[in-house]
């Protein structure tokens, strides 16, 4: 009986932990926190891609390594963006959702353009797509600071 109870408690704890980790945000404040995190990740992925492209253009990085890094950045951004887009916005957060999903769509398009350009060996295309990243990063930074003033 005691073992059964211990087992039941362990299962409940595990289920609780999984729910806590995976549950979507229910309140406006939780949604804003998740939005700030999403924007942080997207900006991180964009800056990583930008750094690799600059390193390649400066002759500091090899093409295979840059290609792998750009593929990873795009894949991560797509996952991050779709995870956020999959959460229903609580009341009063529709504008936030619109703004962030808009920025994330532009970002994933630009990262895809980087991936395509590097696969094709298209250096001008690479530069052009990389040039579109900093303004997007600026928008994401503004959003991050608005939602979480303590962030860098």
């Amino acid at each position: 009986m005691r073992r059964l109870l211990v087992g039941l408690v362990a299962v409940l704890l595990l289920a609780g932990a999984l729910w806590y980790g995976q549950a979507p945000p229910r309140s406006a404040s939780a949604y804003q926190t998740r939005a700030a995190q999403t924007a942080l990740y997207l900006r991180s992925q964009s800056r990583t891609a930008g750094m690799w492209v600059r390193a390649l253009q400066d002759g500091q990085a090899t093409s295979p390594a840059t290609q792998v890094a750009l593929e990873e950045a795009e894949s991560d951004a797509v996952t991050t963006a779709s995870r956020f887009a999959g959460w229903d916005p609580p009341p009063g957060t529709d504008d936030l959702r619109r703004e962030l999903t808009g920025a994330s769509t532009e970002l994933t398009d630009d990262l895809a353009a980087l991936r395509i350009a590097i696969h094709a060996g298209d250096r001008p295309g690479l530069s052009s797509a990389a040039g579109r990243l900093p303004p997007l990063e600026g928008r994401l930074t503004t959003l991050i600071i608005t939602l979480d003033p303590g962030q860098r």
């Binding site: 806590y20 750094m51 295979p64 390594a65 290609q67 792998v68 991560d76 979480d148 860098r152």
Partner: protein, 412 residues
Amino acid sequence: MNPKKLFAFTLGTLSAIGGFIDIGDLVADALVGARFGLRLAWVTVLAVIGIACYAEMSARIAIRTRRPAFAVVRSRMGPRYALVALVGAFGVTGLLVMAELSGVALALQLATSVHYLLWVPVVAAVLLVLFWALNFETMERIYGLLGLTMLVYVVAVWYLAPDWSRLWSSATTPAPVSGESWGTYLFFLVTLIGAQMTPYEMFFFSSGAIENRWHRKDLTEMRVNVLVGFPLGGLLAIAIQAVAFLVFFDAGIQVEHISQTVLPVVVALGKLGLVIALVGIFAATFGATIETLFSTGYQLSQYFGWSYGKVQPPVRAARFTTTIAALLLLSVVLALTTLSPITITIYAVVFSASLLPLAFLPVLLVGNDRTVMGDLTNGRLSNAIGTLTLLLSVGIAVSALPLLVITKAGTG
């Protein structure tokens, strides 16, 4: 000291430095450096002191008793305790084998752009061939010496021309940065401890003492390996944190891939740095794959009393060889499920942290047992450091899983 002995000495120490870093260290150090700067570097210092103490203790046990530490623990604490430790270590080390194997494949992917999943079975096949063909010492030396190329991270710190006062200020501020919570700070403290104080290192070192046929006359060599090799390995770990801090922190970049761990070296040293870093990561993870495989094989064999090790041909240690081959195959299958190696690494090191007291306590008890150890019983320094490390590990073990849940594995 004759030149041949000095050569073996130097080789052993260099191998210890090069063999310190594995995928857990690489990922944890880069993650921590990017988010917290050097504010957790003090944890690396503590972890190196702790694991060096226990590695020396377990090798001394092996030298004195002519049996590896795990086998002595089994005799001392009983088979039930040893079984619990075995199951826990087996689970964690099994995950680490998959992560290390994937780490080798990821390094090859960065070098060739061929997807890492295609490299996983190739690397596994090469590992099996090397395991069959090479003796223990040769394998250890090869990956240990190649792993020295990880020193490129130390060079990269210099080339990035850091503001040293800023680095020092960060290293001497044991608190989260603005925008991070104490919860995530403590979670990454646990992650670093789990990555840098892995029980498999301790048991591998002690089984290695048997494989290398170390006797009392080799005590000095063993101690130099530990007392020089481990701290210099720790310096490497801090260098990885430092370069991640210098390149990623102000940009707000979070480390999620192996490719990001080499980016600071690319920024500092260009293509040559990239190539050297990739060789280093390849060697470090290749060596760690061998160590984790062997460590699991050793523990299982030592628990059941099977023949084991490379001191005899593989066919004469059939169950040990089969265990290693089976674990390698399982790791290949796990890797091919496309589970993220980075995520697996984080979870594996956190679980490893929660099992530390199980591994440390019996080694400390055996090390203090005069009837077993004779004149090689722990001295006051070993006992002081060992006890403090054990107490730290208990705190870490209690908090590891709650922090994993509360901080959602450090994401928020």
